[in-house]
Symmetry: none
Subunit: 240 residues, 2 copies
């Protein structure tokens, strides 16, 4: 009778554990040493099972950090309104944000053009990291006209959310003017923030948002971890 290789039955056992939710999406698996002890086999056998599941896309090894249950990218719908947290919450995810820095300096020509201000105008620049289910998914830099929004840094430090900041500034509604999506390789700094490896693929989403009169109020670039966020466009939301 053919005997199933030990590494294969370990791979099957782990697959069942993942399917049963014993190891949740994004969760870290026990270490090789712990799994060796658990299954009563040597590390080499465990490693072979983990390699098989990684090839299947079920696991994801992060250098130096361990082996994780692969995540299905969270969908972020590009709607008329920018609602990162709201739309992720609606899909059952837990969104989060971390402020990295707020800088005030002169706008470079590109920023000035996007915000429709003169080059050299003072702008506030907010660097932030966004999270989904505890995992960093996006590194963003947003620019705002400092003359129009002098108190933005102070408010943003508290709210940590652009939508909430605009709300506090009396802008209860604003819409997406344009969004431009390309793919790039993560630089060491980007990889560090997003807990990826240098060279990993990122979605680069550049966008301008405007108030209801059509005046640009935010120009930003977000780098999303390519395997953690999917930008979606709903055809129903597109006008004919």
């Amino acid at each position: 009778m053919a005997r199933t290789a030990i590494w294969k039955s370990i791979a099957q056992s782990l697959t069942r554990d993942i399917a049963d939710g014993r190891y949740a999406t994004g969760a870290k698996l026990p270490s090789e040493a712990q799994l060796s002890a658990q299954f009563g086999v040597n590390r080499h056998t465990v490693r072979r099972a983990l390699a098989e599941l990684s090839e299947q896309g079920l696991l994801h090894a992060r250098r130096g950090a361990g082996v994780f249950v692969a995540t299905t990218p969270a969908d972020y719908p590009l709607g008329k309104r920018v609602r990162f947290r709201q739309s992720l919450r609606a899909a059952g995810h837990i969104p989060g944000g971390e402020q990295l820095a707020i800088t005030t300096r002169s706008a470079d020509p590109k920023e000035a053009e996007a915000l429709q201000v003169s080059a050299g105008t003072l702008i506030h620049i907010c660097d932030a990291l966004s999270f989904v289910d505890g995992q960093p998914v996006g590194l963003s830099q947003s620019c705002f006209d400092a003359e129009r929004f002098p108190d933005l840094p102070k408010i943003h430090r508290d709210t940590k959310s652009v939508t909430a900041t605009f709300h506090a500034l009396g802008l209860n509604d604003y819409t997406r003017v344009w969004t431009r999506i390309t793919a790039i390789s993560a630089s060491p700094i980007q990889a560090g923030h997003l807990r990826l490896t240098e060279g990993d693929p990122l979605l680069r989403s550049e966008c301008v948002n405007a108030d209801l009169s059509g005046t640009p109020i935010e120009y930003g670039i977000t780098y999303f971890a390519g395997n953690r966020i999917a930008l979606t466009v709903d055809g129903e939301a597109l006008e004919a």
Copy 2:
């Protein structure tokens, strides 16, 4: 008075050189050693300036080959209607397409779900390469219900365009149902077709298109060279 960091002024100088056309789109920059000599600084400073410009998307480092002035990606607007060639032509580009293969086989569960047919239904699969201005920009695989469109392969071999094929089949109008965009690293095969390097970032765009009754007629995945195509979403086209 605050002094601009040396690497920053080098980055600004290079930005001006690119803007002035001294270094054309796609051109190779002088080596780090040459730039160090030119600016009278050490290589570390030059490297910092180059890293900054790469992050801005102005430069593109190719491992082992050098640093190049990034080509501006051609915009491909994601509208209600799928009009790859038409929209690129409107922006002054020359679009093109090359048929790689047409296969007929049973739909796998994912394809069947997307096309709303039973798993195992025969489908036609068209593999194609799309070009902009003579450069390969997208590698796509599109699936069609073979029962509904038995003559699609024959027609598609002539038209080499999905829009033209549907037109010949009497479908003069069809619309985007959903589009889902992530970023991945190019496999050796993808890199070969797109004339990129293995591991280069690709935009992965998965989509379903439907006829006017809402029945899915095409399910496809396109891998776009991350630095050659920008997918754009026009806020004006999004319904409130």
